[in-house]
Symmetry: C3
Subunit: 350 residues, 3 copies
């Protein structure tokens, strides 16, 4: 439960109305009930500003009310951004309360962990693993030998982290993600079989990284697969062995980066993108969804298509593709006309 005053303080906002009004949750403006907080940002919803039953409403500082309203008002620079922070307030409060160790937890001999950790039931932590302060490990997680996890990191149920991997501070790893599974490396043999190339590197996840549900990150053959600080990976993403993902790069769901490719900083990859192995992708590269990248990409380029091309060029080519049958018809008709013209010229030259 938070008061208007507390929330306004948190948001650097100002209260109009009763500062002691309290709320226990957030609602959409059109569904606001007493005890909830709502916000107004999208003009389409303006009418609800005057009818909402919410107890507190977030308004932009420059919004002029046409008449007085019932809820306590908190004025902020940007109500839309403000609501995110309010949600964070509630969420963090709830999570921060979870600490201690459930029954049925497998801990190693001489286990090293920081203060205020939570470890859920049926979680297995192998020998040599270490947790920082305020780490939350949900139930049914596997943390292999010598894994280290930084402060404040949250590991959701069913995550599996193989031996020797390093997880930074302030990370969030969603359910059933797998970190440190063997890279996909095999040496073809003369008889057609493949011999496994042992993968004895690890995965290093730096700070402030979020990893989506079901995402898989393979360990390096030797050395480290590296996910730099601030990277955000969506669900079901595949990061192969020896890959490096630069700082603050964002990768949407079901994208795959093949072995040994290096992705720069501050890139944005949409969903279902594929990057083949051994490439170098620059900084601030944008790749449209479903695109396939098979060549190095310089800094700042926007890519689209399969095979991927510079986005604007691909769009121009695709615009013609849409009408290819008409182009074919034009050419067929030209062929006929030119034959007639050639015939006529020949007739005349005879």
């Amino acid at each position: 439960m938070f008061s208007a005053e507390t929330i306004a303080g948190y948001l650097n906002g100002s209260v109009e109305g009763e500062p002691s009004t309290v709320v226990t949750g957030v609602a959409r403006i059109e569904q606001g009930k007493p005890g909830t907080l709502c916000f107004f940002a999208n003009p389409k919803y303006e009418k609800y500003v005057y009818t909402t039953k919410a107890s507190i409403i977030l308004l932009n500082r420059d919004y002029e009310l046409r008449e007085s309203i019932a809820p306590t008002i908190i004025r902020v620079d940007n109500a839309y951004e403000g609501i995110a922070s309010v949600l964070g307030l509630f969420e963090q409060k709830k999570l921060a309360n979870k600490k201690g160790c459930d029954r049925f937890v497998w801990l190693p001999w001489r286990f090293k962990k920081g203060k205020n950790c939570y470890i859920g039931a049926y979680t297995y932590i192998a020998r040599g693993a270490r947790l920082g302060n305020s780490v939350k490990v949900y139930p049914q997680v596997y943390i292999g030998e010598n894994v280290t996890v930084g402060d404040n990191t949250i590991i959701y149920p069913g995550v599996k982290i193989y031996q020797g991997c390093v997880i930074g501070a302030n990370c969030i790893i969603h359910a059933n993600a797998v970190i440190g599974s063997d890279g996909f490396g095999f040496a073809p043999q003369a008889n057609g079989e493949y011999k496994k190339i042992p993968q004895i590197g690890n995965v290093v996840i730096e700070d402030n990284v979020e990893i989506g549900a079901g995402t898989t990150i393979d360990r390096s053959t030797i050395g480290s697969t590296l996910v730099c600080s601030g990277v955000k990976l969506d669900n079901l993403v595949q990061i192969a062995h020896n890959v490096e993902i630069g700082k603050n790069t964002v990768i949407a769901a079901q994208t795959g980066i093949a072995g040994s490719s290096k992705v720069g900083e501050s890139c944005i990859f949409a969903g279902q993108v594929g990057v083949i192995g051994h490439l170098k992708i620059g900084n601030r590269v944008t790749i449209a969804s479903k695109s396939g990248v098979s060549k190095n990409i310089p800094d700042g380029m926007a890519m689209l298509g399969f095979p991927g091309m510079e986005a604007s060029k691909y769009k121009r080519s695709f615009a013609v593709f849409r009408n290819l049958p008409a182009l074919r018809d034009d050419v067929d008709s030209l062929v006929k006309k030119v034959a007639v013209l050639e015939n006529n010229q020949e007739d005349k030259s005879q």
Copy 2:
């Protein structure tokens, strides 16, 4: 074990031969052994009708035997559909028997569950969660705070359901699926970092939904990500935050629906389809495998390609694409011929 009579009753069929013949399982017609039931639907297998060792055979009502056969016969309108029901008989019998609570189950204080539930070992059920009647929860499942699960729903091993999600009745959720993980929402900051936008909505799965292994469904930012009744999702499908999937829509493996898109009723999406965010897909839309959808689609349209186009139009364009080098050659040759023609005309006009 079921008798021919029981099975015929179940299928609305009629028995020819001994009604008390019993079977304990189903076999392919070419592999039928005593004590099994087989069916004949594909003409390619007709010879086996006369040689199978199965004890019971399902035949279409209109199939005329060329000679008498050993197995007891059950005549039905459609043997192929009939076999599905018979399989169901056996399967349901087996599953329905599972009830009770294994040891090593984590249950909350004052846990509310219906009759005839099964809860497997190492499953964690958080406070406030409720199960309906005859719910089967396999081992190693995580059910978060305040989750509700409707009657007869089956949750296979390793499924993780985050707090506050709602699962309907008669649903099946396959192993390692994740429901309610955070939506992929971040606000870019001036310094290049991204700030997490808390995702405090939930996921609502209505009745009769099947969800494949490893599929991920993210919770909404505010409100609900919604999967309507009768929807069938295959394996490794990604449903992003705020998405809605309409009634009886079927989505094949590895397809991804990006944030806030609304998919209509009775659509059929093949595998590896991608739908970008904030779109509206109509009812009864069909999308071919691997297609990318980047625009709204009206009711009933068939889509194909990347970027996606109306299927028939895409096919015509692609037919020309297949022979683009020939088209290029035709044009090159025309360019030369026209140059010659122009030259000749000029010569003559001089």
Copy 3:
């Protein structure tokens, strides 16, 4: 810990220097420390041959040293392949040591397992399941009724194997893979709903198969989904019901094979490939990443594109696609020129 002599014996190599030199691990040549072994294969790193602090160095037999070096040398035909084997030595030693049964393991009545098995905590093994010799089952694994697992197979944390599946010998199954989930089969009903077609077959994995993290393999409707010996599947691969994958075929991450398709032997599929259902793919077929296969493919063909075509043909078409706007311009200009030519001819014929 291994001596130079032991390692040389294992690699069929010869020692130059002290055969009793021992190492406890492997390092990159530029990071070699005493007690480690390094290798030299990439000419870019040649200078480190003369400066590395590693205790043992693997060199190609034909490499000529320019001056004497400190480490003990092991000469082999191919240092790069050699290092893989050395890594294997260390890895296998570590793993082979793991045996016995953790506490909190769910074992069935009259459980049958071979010698030297390891079973991790929170693993559930259902009735009728059997493990061969030296099987390693990590924590939090689910092994359903009557599943059999062959000798030396390693099953990583969180793997779920449904009832009745058969896993061969010397297999490796990575974390959170799912084997034997229901095939995606539904019969449309007159009212728009879908009725589940029970999937009562199983999955058969032969020997020497590796299965990546998060990969899903569905059970057959009737009969078996079959993964033949020597097959290697990367992460997040989807194998649908009734599929067969031939011997020694390698399939990279996020590829999906739809229902009932048969893939031949010794094929190589890159990442994010899609194969639609009911196809027959020959032996030794190569499919480039992201390609979509919608037709049968004969032995030995290389495929590329979406829809997939013979790779060389696709590349030629795509080369024209890149410059389609220029082609369109050429045609437009031809149309004009031909109109002028026609006009002129007409003028003259008048």
